[in-house]
Each structure stands twice: as C-alpha cells, then as structure tokens.
Symmetry: C2
Subunit: 228 residues, 2 copies
DNA sequence: CTGCTTTCGCTACGAGTCGTAGCGTAACTG
DNA sequence: CAGTTACGCTACGACTCGTAGCGAAAGCAG
C-alpha cells in the first residue's frame, strides 16, 4: 500500500487538508486570500464521489484515480487537499454523523429508542457500512487515524449518552451521579453497549433493526437502571 | 485491487482451497492420493505467516508476496491453495475462535463473565484485532465471504449463548422458552450485545476489558433476566 | 491594467502489487 | 518403472500509488 515515497516529502508548501474536521461552511478561501482560491465545488464533488465509490467498491476497491475522475477533477487536486485515502474517507464519512441528535422525548425509554432508530438508519446506508468498518479496521494500525475517528465520530456520539442521562436525571428517572469517575465509566459502558450492539447486529449478523428489536434491546438496557 | 484478470480464469484444474473450514487434522493427502501430496508444513507456515503479517501490517499492508516469502514458500503455492486474500485470512483467523468454550461454572453470572473474559483475551491479540475488523469490512461487500465468516466465526459463538441459556434454564435461573421463535430472537439479541459491546470497547473505544468492567457489564445483562 | 500568487487539469514517471503462465524438478502412487 | 501432482523460480501485463513538471486559469494588490 505505501508504494513509493522517494525523498519522504521534503516539506509541504501549504498546510494541506484545509478541512481538519468541519471547515468554514461557505468560506471559499477564508484564511490567506492571496492566489486563486480552492474550488468549494470541487471539495463537495470529491467528498460525494468518495462516498459513492465507497459504497460501490468498498475500501479496498476505492481508488484515488477513480474518485478523481468521478468527481471530474485531476488526481493531483485530490492530493493537494488530502494527504491520503484515510483522511479523505474520514472527512467524507464524518459528516454523516452530524445528523444524530438527542431528542428528549420525555422518557428515558423513548429517548433510547429514538437514538437507536437514528443510529440504525445511518447504518442502513451502504456507504456508512463500508466506510465505518473500513475506518475502524485501519484505525487499529494507524494511531493518528484512530484519534481522528474518535474526535470526529465517537466523541460526538458519547455526548448523546451524556445528554440522555442528564435529562433522565432531571426527570428523576435516574439517580444523580455519586462521583464523576463512576459516571464517566457508566457513560462509556452504555455507549459501547448501544453502539456496539447495533453495529454488530447490522454489520456482522447482517439483520435489520426493527421496532420490535429496538423494544427488546431497550428492555435489556433499562433493566438495572430503573427501580427494581 | 482486482488488478489483472485477462481471460477470467478458464476453469480451475483442481478444487483449490483444500481447507473449506476445518480440514482433516493430520491428513496430508486424505482424499485422492495420486501425485505428490501437498505439504502440510507449508499450510501451517503460510497460515502462521499470514497471522503475523496481519498483526504487523494490517489488512491493507498484507501482501501475498510478503506472506509467501515469510513462509518460505513460492507465491504460486499460495495461489494454488487459496484463490484470494479473503479466503486465506478467514482460514488463518477462524482457528483462533476454536478455543472459545462455555464453561458451565454453576451460575449464569459466572458463565457470562467467563465467556466475556475469553472473548476479551482473544480480542486483546493484535492479529485478531486487525483480522476481525478487516474481515467484517470486506464481508460487507462480498456475500460469499460474509457467509464464510458467519459459518466459521459467528455461528460457533452463538452456540455458546444457547449452551449458557440451556444451563441456566436447567438450574432454574431462567424460565423455559415459551416458543422457539422467541427463543431464537432472544439468543440473537444477547449474542449481538455481548459480542458487539466487547468488540466496540476494545476495537473502537480502544480501552481494555478489566474484571471490574466485566462485572458492570454483566450487571447490565442480568438486569431483566433475573427475578426482580 | 499589470504583476504576483496559488490552484487547476494534464501528462509522465518510478516503485510496487496482483494473479497467471511456463519451466524444470521433487515427491509420492500404482 | 511410468504417471501424476506439487514445488520453487522467473517473467509477464495490467493496474495503483503518490509525485513532479508543465502551461493555463483565477483571483488579489498595486
């Protein structure tokens, strides 16, 4: 995969990758406005093409040249923005998770079921399926990529768990936290359980998330949390 | 990734891949013993080399030529046995799951914690981490690979859940199943929860499985199952 | 309008992998 | 023994990777 890399990149002329995570929405050339600005349309076309190619060809089949030609862009333009396939795919996929929100429907059960349904809807899309697992797989080896995944995808989701717990505590459905240490671990365990179970059901077992399944799964989650 | 494939393989001269899942343990040339038998030592060397390369280089970095030279074997020998990287890696990894057993320690809690600990031990190994996620990722696109994964990895694990439930029912800790349909779904949901959560914690969140974590997670699982 | 700067698309390149074919040789069977 | 199959080796065409160099386009400061 590394292929060539002769002088190991002497020094970049420009920061490269102007979209660290969430760039300025409509700022074509927000910062230093010296020369010709980068085409925002090209950015969008590239990210769209990446998602499409990803769902059709998978991670291994995704080719920089293919993405470039599909986006109507030169391959060099791709490399001017993203240093590697990893970074490109993270950016292309992370935006999909922006839609996840904590609804606050008035009961813990309803909130959980709503979040599970949202997450399931996201995972039902082929582009998310191929992208997520491929990213996780690469993240095992690449520490920097792993950090980017956590920042762009995992942490925003954990925030949802915290919000849901806080709302339930405000309603009196959950006891208040005794210490922050224990609360932190509780959030972690709930997050891993929800995300892991839904992902495993969809991506590994290959079965759909039905309302009936969501209900039973929520039963499992609520067991020790509610008053016995 | 597909690279060349000129006449699309006219017709194979031999069945290829003599190890569909669990080959004859020590039969060097169990079936038709006509010509020179395939070297069992080569088989072992190749699978070992695959696991090593996988943990060092990951899926994308794993190269057939690299595996061949590391195993002290010609690249052609590799292709004589496995038609592609996918099949090779499945075979190399599936054996790791053979060690999982349902202990029957006398209580549902102890059984669950033991299985979680076993699974966590397996996932702590770098070769399993890289291999499992990479396999799942490829399985999204490749239906045949997905079937092989289910047969070689997923189904054996589901069997553990059934055994654990049966033991708990025999002890009176769990009610007997009302109908097989509902029992089947119950097994699925429990399996996805255990496997998915442990995998997500280790592979995505990147945190270790401690005894303390296992205890809290088991609390979560046992909530609605035990008498309230 | 005139430079200056930066991006653009294009082409070409060396390095590297893929999976196959052909060869002579080794190993085992009847 | 002959017959059959697996082995290691080399070479091959097709493909991807990431980079470099070119001329042209697009904006900005004077």
């Amino acid at each position: 995969m590394p292929a060539a890399q002769p002088p190991a990149s002497p020094e970049r002329t420009r920061p490269v990758c102007p979209t660290p995570a969430s760039p300025a929405p409509e700022a074509v050339n927000s910062a230093r406005g010296k020369g010709r600005p980068r085409s925002a349309a090209a950015d969008r076309a590239i990210l769209d093409a990446t998602r499409e190619a990803l769902s059709e060809l998978g991670w291994g089949g995704l080719t920089m040249g293919h993405v470039a030609s599909r986006a109507g862009v030169a391959k060099t333009t791709l490399y001017r923005r993203w240093p590697s396939k990893n970074e490109l795919v993270v950016d292309a996929v992370a935006t999909l998770f922006d839609d996840l929100v904590m609804p606050d429907l008035g009961s813990l059960r309803a909130d959980i079921e709503a979040v599970v349904a949202q997450f399931a809807g996201l995972l039902a899309r082929p582009e998310t399926q191929a992208a997520l697992l491929a990213l996780f797989a690469e993240g095992i080896r690449d520490r920097q990529l792993h950090r980017r995944i956590r920042e762009a995808i995992v942490d925003p989701q954990k925030r949802l768990v915290r919000q849901g717990r806080a709302a339930a505590q405000a309603r009196g459905e959950l006891e208040a936290d005794l210490d922050t240490e224990s609360a932190h671990e509780e959030v972690d365990i709930i997050f891993d359980t929800i995300a892991g179970t839904v992902e495993h059901r969809v991506l590994v077992s290959g079965e759909p998330i039905t309302p009936e399944w969501t209900r039973r799964f929520t039963d499992l989650l609520l067991g020790p949390l509610t008053t016995c």
